[in-house]
Symmetry: C3
């Protein structure tokens, strides 16, 4: 809050939002890196350290998102529709929530094995968040609309990739001859949560696409 | 996109939306027919053909929904509130998503038996989508408000019917003495998804109801 | 509807909403009391009576929420943004839906034991709804903004408490050595639904917070 008041003195009111969205994009990018480290870590204690770090990042993201909503209440002039700012902030926050939700499941369900499918999901999610960060940064000057559109198309195709990963995962879980039901519940829940992260990236990309249609 | 540009020459801008919503309603109706065929089919190969067809229809619906959002960005004049158009498009798209999601579960979980409850759900969903299509078509000229309201009331009562089906299903699954946990997970997930389809029909009906209150 | 038409003669149009939101808050408070009685009841028949009572209250809440949407369609003058009224009504309705959903699970899954964690959740939910009711009542005259903010902060911290309860619950379910998978499914589903109730309280608090930022 203090920092936000400070920058409002130096920046035109409506430019505050670009900085806040870029901060969110930065935290999300860091979260995908830490999540990737967590699913690649074989040492349980070290994995827990990464999961704890994800929790801190998720809290940090909550704070920035909260500042976006506070600014939205204060500012009469916004760089794009208030509703679009609200929807973009919400969908970006959902990405953090579901990624942290997936990490928490690894902890709560005590998933011990080095899960290949979780690594595949981490990779798709990382690429999707990188594309999303690019699109968010381009919103500031709206100069390279083609780059924004390309990022959005990429996010859509990564969501399809995650869909196919989930289908493959489910088919394999439900046809595994000796899987215990408890094991199946754990993995099903984890994979579904990871696939939802890419859905939320797509939601954010859709908002960005609708913004550039209106304002460019 | 090409077709959409074409009709914009001949139609007042704001009338584009009626045609697009009617296209969505048409695809949804076809999806309920194909889904009904899938759950009534006993031959696994033939059932797979119906599920594949549903996937194609879901993609077709995605394309039309995408065109609605593009038009929404372009058009300054809309026949009803932009927010209502957005919410109606979203809830109709959700219907397609969840119905396709249910079909995908039948495939991924390799649900082989001819499930009586799935047929009952297919029937309720079909009737709900028929009522919804009627309401969507009536939006164009707003002449028969009573017919729109009647359709919305019907959709609400079909959602209650689906609720009761789900309760019955859950009570029966959880009191089945010899059901395997894996079997229970499959069916629980399928029925919950099918019930959600009727929730999404109700969401769409609520948007339509709020439109006619404002504009009639 | 008849009652709503009646009060519109005596009250300025825009004040109708305060009364309706207070009615919702009242029903939600009663629902948390009945839910608490249900989870503390050891006699199965008596517990069923409480669950039936919850269903009636949920229907009552649906009716009031429907009236809010009807008024929103009719009224051109609203005491705060139409979108905020819509979001507040929706999130309050979600609280009722998920609480009733939890109660229905106790019934459908035939959860017989006196569940300590369900009682803990009932307690957190009750305190959250009490804080929310206070905030809703204060909206009418906007005199005590500090009290509204304090209620919202409390609701946020209760949501965190529910998160921790859920983590504890999941860790304990998934490390229980002799739990049956079916038992695990029942409890997991019930606790997740109860935690979602506090999420919806937080959503409502966020809307209220954004209203007071704009209008105070």
């Amino acid at each position: 809050m203090a920092f936000s008041s400070f920058i409002k003195i130096f920046l035109p009111k409506d430019r505050v939002f670009y900085g806040l969205f870029e901060e969110v994009a930065g935290v999300l990018t860091e979260m995908t890196q830490v999540f990737t480290q967590a699913v690649n870590e074989t040492n349980p204690q070290k994995r827990e350290t990464f999961i704890k770090k994800l929790e801190d990042l998720e809290h940090k993201n909550d704070d920035i998102t909260h500042r976006i909503f506070i600014e939205l209440g204060r500012n009469f002039i916004t760089p794009f529709d208030r509703e679009d700012i609200h929807m973009l902030a919400t969908s970006l926050d959902d990405i953090a929530d579901f990624l942290w939700g997936a990490a928490k499941r690894i902890h709560n369900y005590q998933i011990q094995d080095n899960d290949e499918l979780a690594k595949d999901f981490a990779d798709v999610i990382t690429r999707s968040v990188i594309a999303l960060s690019k699109a968010v940064k381009e919103l500031r000057d709206m100069k390279d609309l083609r780059a924004i559109t390309e990022s959005c198309v990429k996010i859509n195709s990564l969501e399809n990739e995650a869909d196919e990963l989930l289908d493959k995962a489910m088919l394999s879980l439900f046809s595994a001859p000796n899987i215990s039901a408890v094991e199946l519940i754990k993995k099903k829940d984890l994979y579904e949560m990871l696939e939802t992260v890419t859905d939320k990236c797509e939601d954010a990309a859709n908002v960005i696409e609708s913004i550039i249609i209106k304002y460019a």
